[in-house]
């Protein structure tokens, strides 16, 4: 097992290296990030030349990449300079965006799992019943829905037509505390939390519906498969009551593939966050990615793509490990 893990971990390094290099090449292809600085009247052409030299942008692609990679691994210069947020380095910019994305991605994922696992089991235990068809339809709806359109429609219905939720942003600029307008950062923590939750309700809902569909289907088919296994029949035959059969014998085996899928759901989560954040104007990682790519903010885009690639690779790795941990029948060698 340990040897297997070490070998797998070593295999990941070339994959990550390849992804970063190809992404670097592609992102560089989008255009010269320093050329956009010319719009600023305070920046002289010499300054641009100097910046280009400092960041090794006047050297061939491969050398430029090596310098970038070195700085990414040992961030002395903070992963480069951000064109969109002048004066701040990329690491700072990204760090400031992480909490909000983490908050709403993690919340939506946990909610999706908590909702879909019991529903999936129920669906499987009542196969071909009316509620099974209803849940199946709901699951397919979640999987087939273009997230961006669902987001826009929810915004239109619940923020524009009826003002139940705010249309955009991660929090209000001001909160009313004891009859006074107080800046968000100075309001009590609990009020900050409620306000943020109220703002994130719609985007979280979009992501939950999107994820629930797939989880529900997986859980249902996994449970269906287990339901007909010999050991379940044996348990029933020896007179164990239904509850125990389902929760002790069937559920524990049916959940195995689901646990491993959590690690594999990262790419979808990243894409989903990118779309929903862009639509709901939430200043998190996803929106930053889209903006960085669209405005040739090369260092920001590269740092984010690399982080995503690492997350996905780690997710796959964790899925592998979990698979062996939760299922003692699987032995890696």
């Amino acid at each position: 097992m340990r040897n297997y893990l070490i070998r797998r971990a070593l295999e990941l390094i070339p994959v990550l290296f390849a992804i970063t290099f190809v992404s670097f090449w592609l992102v560089s292809k989008m255009g010269d990030p320093f050329a956009t600085l010319i719009i600023n009247p305070h920046v002289r052409p010499e300054d641009i030349q100097r910046l280009r030299h400092i960041w090794h942008w006047d050297e061939p692609l491969v050398i430029r990449f090596v310098y970038w990679l070195k700085d990414f691994v040992y961030p002395k210069a903070g992963w480069g300079l951000s064109i969109l947020a002048p004066g701040r380095n990329v690491l700072e910019v990204i760090k400031s965006r992480i909490p909000i994305t983490m908050a709403f991605s993690a919340t939506s994922m946990v909610l999706a799992i908590v909702i879909s696992v019991p529903l999936g089991i129920y669906s499987a235990l009542h196969q071909y019943s009316v509620s099974d068809y209803g849940l199946t339809f709901f699951a397919f709806f979640g999987m087939s829905m273009p997230t961006f359109w669902f987001g826009i429609m929810l915004m239109y219905l619940f923020a524009v037509k009826v003002h139940w939720f705010p249309a955009a942003g991660a929090h209000s600029a001001f909160l009313i505390v004891e009859g006074m307008h107080v800046e968000f950062s100075e309001a009590p923590k609990i009020r900050q939390f409620i306000d943020t939750a109220w703002h994130l309700a719609l985007p979280i809902f979009v992501l939950v519906v999107f994820q629930t569909g797939a989880w529900l289907r997986y859980m249902r088919s996994s449970m269906l498969e287990v339901k007909h296994q010999d050991y379940v029949r044996t348990a029933r035959a020896k007179g164990v009551n239904d509850r125990t059969v389902i929760y002790k014998h069937a559920f524990r085996n049916a959940i195995i593939p689901i646990i491993t899928l959590i690690g594999l759901s990262f790419p979808g989560l990243i894409g989903g966050a990118m779309i929903t954040e862009t639509i709901f104007a939430i200043d998190g990682i996803g929106r930053l990615t889209f903006k960085a790519v669209m405005s040739q903010d090369v260092f920001v885009a590269m740092a984010l793509i690399t982080i995503f690639a690492v997350l996905i690779v780690l997710g796959n790795f964790i899925a592998d490990i979990l698979y062996a941990v939760v299922d003692p029948r699987i032995r890696y060698s």
Binding site: M30, F148, V293, M294, V313
Partner: protein, 302 residues
């Protein structure tokens, strides 16, 4: 396989015929899949008949004026224009019809290209094994670890423009699943007697792979490709929505929604129908794929 059945008829014909007939019989019992198939047929018919169905409107013409409102841009629905006019005063209904051609074509073609690439890689990896297998599977791992949507956006920003570019961008990310499936199937198929027999009479690896192994891996590939069509349609729509996919003036369901958020307050009717069209199509493909999975997999059929 097709060639064999054509030439010598006989047992091969009746057997393959009855296999697909059984599949179809099982599919027919799957009500949701049959409804999906019907809806897809209807959709294809509608987009093929886009011209006669668009009430004499052209998706590219800017309409000078409409009688029921002062400005033709963003005009609400009215006689002759059932879904109103878009922000450039073009008929929204005819754009939905013609946009459907683009969206469906992109979905189909990307899925087809993806399946072909996946079949090829899966076959060579599974059949040759060893170093070929290692290289192909590492490359598949690499593609699976790419953050798809951000990289698609970068790619679309680099190779801006044509329909072919969009198809290329989506296709290169839709073959990995098929490759893995096919490789797995081939690994078990190549140990079976019929492969050994083919090798024994001296058939070339290419012939064994494409004539003997490929047809036997088709069932999971068909399912995966059907489901991939839905995913590809959503990818196209998302890219076009972000302004990086199909470019104006060519309509697609995605780029019709490109300005939807901006016009949400003034012309909310514009954002309903392209989205509903996408939803119906992807739902239908997902249901059909699900039905096909049940029909093609005899183990699941109880």
């Amino acid at each position: 396989m097709a060639k064999n059945t054509y030439i010598d008829g006989g047992t091969t014909t009746s057997e393959t015929y009855s296999y697909w007939r059984k599949v179809f019989q099982r599919l027919r019992k799957h009500h949701l899949a049959m409804i999906a198939l019907f809806i897809l047929g209807l959709l294809i018919l509608i987009v093929v008949l886009a011209k006669p169905l668009s009430f004499g409107n052209d998706p590219f013409t800017y309409i000078e004026s409409v009688p029921w409102i002062a400005r033709p841009e963003l005009a609400p629905p009215g006689p002759g224009h059932p879904l109103g006019l878009d922000n450039m005063a073009r008929d929204a209904w005819s754009r939905i019809l013609y946009g459907g051609r683009v969206s469906l074509a992109v979905g189909f073609i990307c899925s087809l290209v993806g399946a072909s690439i996946g079949l090829f890689f899966g076959l060579i990896a599974g059949y040759f094994g060893g170093i070929v297998d290692m290289l192909v599977m590492r490359f598949t791992d690499f593609m699976l670890s790419v953050p798809v949507l951000p990289i698609m956006v970068v790619l679309a920003a680099v190779i801006r423009g044509s329909l072919a570019a969009i198809i290329f961008i989506i296709s290169i990310f839709s073959w990995m699943g098929v490759a893995r499936l096919v490789r797995g199937e081939v690994l078990s198929l190549k140990e079976q007697e019929f492969t050994e027999a083919a090798r024994a009479i001296g058939e070339s690896p290419a012939r064994i792979m494409f004539i003997h192994l490929l047809p036997n891996t088709m069932a999971p590939v068909i399912v995966a490709s059907t489901l991939a069509i839905a995913g590809n349609i959503i990818y196209e729509a998302t890219l076009s929505f972000l302004g990086l996919g199909i470019r104006q003036p060519t309509p697609s369901w995605g780029n019709m929604l490109n300005g939807a958020q901006t016009f949400m307050l003034t012309a909310p009717w514009l954002m309903w129908w392209p989205g509903i069209a996408i939803l119906i199509t992807t739902l239908a493909f997902n249901f059909l794929g699900d039905g096909l999975r049940d029909a093609l997999d005899p183990r699941l059929y109880r």
